[in-house]
């Protein structure tokens, strides 16, 4: 397994009121894996993507793609990257045929055969204008372009937002197919955590512009437990150990590290999933008093 993308200590400050800061963001994306990049809206997912791709100049940090530093090897690296920002929202008044014609000239490994097959598979009509496509079709068109030039890395920013469950499931299948073989990878940002439960191997969790958690999905999920108890079951030690608590008039539910589960002996427990980890970390976070 090789490292396809490596980001080290990325910093970016948007000053002013309502400003935002990316704080020492660092992670790597190995080959043959789907890496889920999760976080709330405004947590810094798109900014991180833009900084990696050179669309937004970074204040500090390093990015290397396929072991080559960016932006020194920008054009070379982008030959092997397919990027999907949401749906395809460029040149909306133009027909798919015209956009593809302009796009494909830049890629040495463009496969017309593969592109035609994907158009057929996704039921895309090249004579339609971009603005006539539904949200799902726009994502599929963006994927068709990205997959037709033999990209080694797909960077997808919220590709499944606004899609129905069937379309999302279809796209997840395409993702799995893409990484089969072990040489290609997907970095996939989303706030729809159920998509990651279906297909992600690795998880990177960004919160307020900083990486809050990252690692193997099974290890992350396995490292936490959801517990449930009545009002009388709460002790000071347990409260201190909980990462997040949701209290009701009848009791509480909370997220606890597997290593501290002994503090919740006798209480009902359940496996945590990515959504509950995110929810209890963000919404029901326990604040020290």
């Amino acid at each position: 397994m090789t490292t396809i993308l490596e980001a080290k200590n990325l910093c970016k400050v948007y000053p002013g009121p309502g400003g935002f800061e990316l704080k020492n963001v660092g992670f790597s994306v190995p080959s043959g894996c789907i890496t889920g990049f999760i976080g709330r809206n405004g947590a810094g997912k798109t900014t991180t993507f833009k900084v990696i791709l050179g669309l937004s100049p970074r204040d500090a940090g390093e990015v290397s793609l396929f072991s080559k530093p960016m932006p020194e090897h920008e054009a070379e690296c982008k030959q092997d990257i397919g990027v999907v920002f949401g749906g395809f929202s460029y040149h909306e008044t133009k027909r798919l045929r015209a956009v593809t014609k302009a796009f494909k000239r830049f890629y040495k490994n463009w496969s017309e055969e593969k592109y035609r097959a994907l158009l057929k598979k996704f039921a895309l009509d090249e004579n339609k204008r971009i603005k006539e496509l539904s949200a799902g079709m726009k994502v599929k068109y963006a994927l068709a372009l990205a997959l037709s030039h033999d990209a080694k890395l797909l960077m997808l920013d919220e590709p499944t937002s606004g899609l129905d469950p069937v379309s999302r499931d279809e796209i997840m299948d395409i993702f799995r197919e893409f990484v089969d073989g072990g040489e290609r990878s997907i970095l996939f940002s989303t706030h729809i955590t159920s998509d990651l439960d279906k297909c992600a191997d690795y998880i990177i969790y960004i919160r307020d512009g900083a990486i809050a958690m990252q690692g193997d999905r099974e290890q992350i999920i396995g490292g936490y437990r959801l517990i449930q108890g009545g009002r009388d079951d709460m002790s000071e030690a347990l409260r201190a150990a909980l990462i997040g608590i949701k209290e009701t008039p009848f009791g509480f539910t909370g997220l606890i590290r597997e290593s501290e589960l002994y503090l919740a002996e006798g209480l009902a427990t359940a496996k945590a999933d990515i959504e509950s980890i995110m929810l209890y970390t963000e919404k029901y976070e326990r604040h020290e008093s």
Partner: protein, 223 residues
């Protein structure tokens, strides 16, 4: 810098950012040369609207983001845009040449004199080239600044172009052996060649400067 990337970017600009006015104003520039009495640079002024539309379509179609994701360097994108604009301007000038020759023949046959402006000759082309250079140095670097919007910068660029109409008035009223600057005879045209070459050189230099300023801005831009 890859020549192939720049060529493909120009083709992309022509394919995705060519507004119908690009062709409309080309015909207009040719047709207006046949108006016997008219301030000649005005026909060439309309090209600036077509160029502004290239940048407007860029913003509307989020082309800076589309191009930013392509396997090209940012400076290649800027160079391609400078060349797209400059090539359109030069193409417009070149295409109008046969129409200018024809209109000069017709107007002189009719015995008409252009009281509203100078004659169509190489000095006119030199003035228009300088006007285009002034427009480009304002609009091109302006298009790679902040929100990539060009409306106000285009307006300023058009004012800059219009200021060259002053030269036209000056040429029309020249006396004392400088009348050849408004002439259309073969001898006058021959003497006008150095002015045209000087304007062409200035056009190239100004566009190179526009490219360097725009490239530097684009490297720092938030796309």
């Amino acid at each position: 810098m890859s020549f192939s990337n720049v060529k493909n970017l120009i083709r992309k600009d022509l394919g995705l950012l060519s507004h119908p006015t690009v062709f409309l104003f080309l015909f207009l520039a040719c047709g207006m040369l046949f108006i016997p009495e008219y301030p000649r640079p005005v026909g060439f002024f309309y090209a600036l609207i077509a160029i502004m539309n290239i940048f407007t379509l860029d913003v509307q179609g989020k082309d800076h983001e589309f191009s930013g994701l392509l396997p090209v360097q940012k400076r290649e994108s800027v160079l391609a845009r400078v060349l797209t604009v400059a090539l359109y301007e030069i193409a417009l000038l070149v295409i109008t040449v046969p129409f200018a020759v024809l209109s000069n023949m017709l107007i002189s046959k009719l015995g008409r004199v252009n009281h509203a402006g100078m004659n169509t000759n190489l000095i006119l082309y030199a003035i228009v080239l300088l006007g285009y250079a002034a427009y480009n140095i304002i609009v091109i670097p302006g298009a790679y600044h902040k929100q990539f919007k060009v409306y106000f910068k285009s307006f300023v660029g058009m004012l800059a172009f219009s200021s060259f109409i002053g030269f036209e008035i000056l040429v029309r009223n020249l006396k004392g052996g400088l009348e050849y600057l408004n002439g259309t005879s073969p001898a006058a045209l021959t003497r006008q060649i150095p002015f045209l070459l000087g304007a062409a050189a200035m056009f190239v230099i100004v566009n190179v400067i526009a490219y360097f300023i725009a490239s530097r801005r684009y490297e720092k831009a938030e796309i």
